[in-house]
């Protein structure tokens, strides 16, 4: 009975304050979309880092079937060449710069590739044979990349030596800057949303002061009086958060999935499913926003 009553109160409150409720929905929608965009950029960075990025700095790719580099004149790297390279890595001249290194076989490479490009059609057309085996080196000082590069580029069986960081760092710093911008815009919008929710609840409390006055007098509990107001804000914020989540999903599905992944087939993009992981966080954030601002407002404008 009490639940039904609270629900009917919420319904009438939302109806009576429709324009304000819509503006709350839109403001939370926009602000949480920015929060979500920042989250999506971070997810994308993680996706692009792949399996090795945080573990190693330098990769020595060995010759494979299609290699055209001068060191690969003899065809795919032989086990002897691999053994030589391993010995060289362990030799004191090189070992002083190296923390440790790992060997990634063709099968390992295929496994990691499948993980990273799971959302991309390219994964179906690649076989383990096409992927090069590699040594992945964790440097003591990543700046000393040149030494490794000079030492190994000319070795037999080595296709190329790559400093992964240098390749991706610039892109990542741009993406990090973009997510910082998104977070700052989101911050301003969130302040806006909090104030707007507070104003909405104030108006709502004012337009229903007769009812709440009577509820107070006949001894309705604080919860019964305040809950409809709090839930009104929360419901509006949750709708906004759901819209934001939907927008992020649409961006991942249509923009990244349909457009970008066709233009840049060698880049790993996040899947629409991954953006849905952000949805609970956004909805939670919306609930917290609305809850906090309505609690503060009610304490001032709806004394019980």
């Amino acid at each position: 009975m009490r639940l039904a009553f609270v629900l009917s109160e919420i319904g009438s409150g939302l109806r009576r304050n429709l324009s304000m409720v819509i503006s709350v929905i839109l403001v939370t929608f926009v602000s949480l979309t920015f929060v979500g965009a920042a989250g999506m950029l971070q997810l994308q960075i993680n996706q692009m880092k792949g399996y090795w990025y945080d573990k190693v700095q330098v990769a020595i790719f060995l010759c494979s079937d299609g290699s055209t580099a001068p060191g690969c004149a003899t065809g795919p790297a032989t086990p002897e060449q691999e053994a030589n390279l391993r010995k060289l890595l362990q030799s004191p001249a090189v070992a002083q710069y190296v923390n440790d290194f790992q060997y990634e076989s063709k099968d390992d490479a295929y496994k990691h590739f499948k993980e990273q490009f799971s959302n991309s059609p390219i994964v179906d057309s690649v076989t383990p044979d096409q992927l090069p085996a590699s040594f992945r080196i964790n440097m003591k000082d990543p700046e000393k990349y040149e030494i490794i590069s000079e030492t190994f580029s000319s070795q037999a069986g080595v296709e190329t030596v790559i400093d992964q960081r240098q390749l991706l760092e610039r892109l990542f710093s741009a993406m990090n800057a973009a997510s910082l911008v998104a977070v700052s815009i989101a911050g301003v919008m969130i302040i806006c949303a909090i104030l707007l929710i507070a104003t909405t609840i104030r108006l709502s409390a004012f337009s229903r002061r007769r009812e709440t006055g009577i509820m107070r007098l006949v001894g309705a509990s604080k919860m019964v009086i305040q809950l409809p107001f709090i839930l009104e804000g929360v419901i509006a914020a949750v709708i906004g958060a759901a819209l934001a989540s939907g927008t992020l999903w649409a961006v991942a599905h249509f923009f990244l999935g349909e457009v970008m992944s066709k233009q840049y087939p060698d880049t790993a993009f996040i899947s629409p499913g991954q953006t849905l992981l952000l949805a609970p966080a956004l909805i939670g954030l919306g609930v917290v926003l609305a809850g906090i601002s309505s609690l503060l407002t009610l304490r001032r404008y709806l004394r019980v």
Partner: protein, 272 residues
């Protein structure tokens, strides 16, 4: 039922207190009028009983409990034991008579079936049978006040506070309302009514507590609106305005009293 011990209420440190060391006890089942000019402290008294305000000093006991010791989340329970009626009715304009009364039960979580049983009963008590589906603006002032009373007593409070319930009503209608309040009092509810209406006080002959500048200057059983003791120095015009009858004669207007009693009965039967 209500006990004030040395209660002082100060709103503004510079001004005189709204209530000044009040000692007063109103027993269970009693009917008491609270009279006095505007600003004499009647409303403050009612607010303190409801714990809408805290006493600056002294203790207010309601139903044996010191209201200062009631934690804020228990205040609703205190208020469920007290019904309140106002001069301006305070009905919800978009709700029917039935819904207005039912509202008081809904918000404290009474079940639908209890509401369906109780509301018509209470509406009958206040004399509003058959008007369940009217909206407040379709009712006369007296009828609206009856709805307000029904709402105040529907949860069977032990105390009914009425703040000038007849202030907006004509004398005949007022007597009808008094009939309803009297009936509720007969059923065991303590009634405290703040009023300026001298006719009513004189007709009812109940306990009268007179406040002036925050002090109880008179507390008499079966009393009249003005003191039995002649006030020296009061101008003729003032006395005319405040008390038209000569107080020392026992029933001043026997005829009108009989009329009023008749009205009381009809009010009780729900004909007002």
């Amino acid at each position: 039922m209500i006990r004030f011990e040395n209660v002082t209420k100060v709103y503004d440190q510079k001004a005189r207190p709204a209530l000044d060391s009040i000692n007063l006890e109103i027993d269970r089942g009693e009917f008491a009028f609270l009279v006095g000019a505007s600003g004499s402290g009647k409303s403050t008294f009612l607010r303190l009983v409801l714990k809408e305000d805290r006493a600056s000093s002294g203790a207010v006991y309601v139903a044996g409990q010191n209201v200062a010791n009631i934690s804020s989340w228990r205040v609703p329970r205190l208020r469920r034991g007290i019904g309140v009626v106002f001069q301006d009715f305070r009905l919800l304009p978009q709700k029917t008579v039935f819904a207005n009364v039912a509202f008081a039960m809904q918000v404290i979580g009474k079940s639908r079936s209890v509401i369906r049983d109780t509301v018509p009963e209470v509406l009958k008590t206040v004399g509003l049978e058959g008007k369940e589906n009217r909206l407040p603006h379709e009712l006369s002032g007296g009828e609206q006040q009856r709805v307000a009373i029904a709402r105040a007593v529907v949860n069977r409070p032990g105390i009914l506070l009425a703040d000038e319930p007849t202030g907006n009503l004509d004398p005949t209608t007022s007597m009808g309302i008094m009939g309803v309040l009297d009936k509720i009092n007969q059923n065991g509810t303590t009634v405290v009514m703040a009023t300026h209406d001298d006719d009513i006080v004189n007709e009812m002959r109940k306990r009268v507590v007179e406040l002036k500048n925050g002090v109880v200057i008179r507390d008499e059983a079966k009393a009249l609106y003005t003191s039995m003791i002649p006030v020296v120095g009061q101008s003729r015009r003032l006395r005319d305005a405040s008390g038209r009858e000569e107080p020392q004669v026992v029933p001043p207007r026997a005829g009108s009293r009989a009329e009023a009693r008749a009205e009381l009965r009809t009010a009780g039967e729900g004909q007002a």
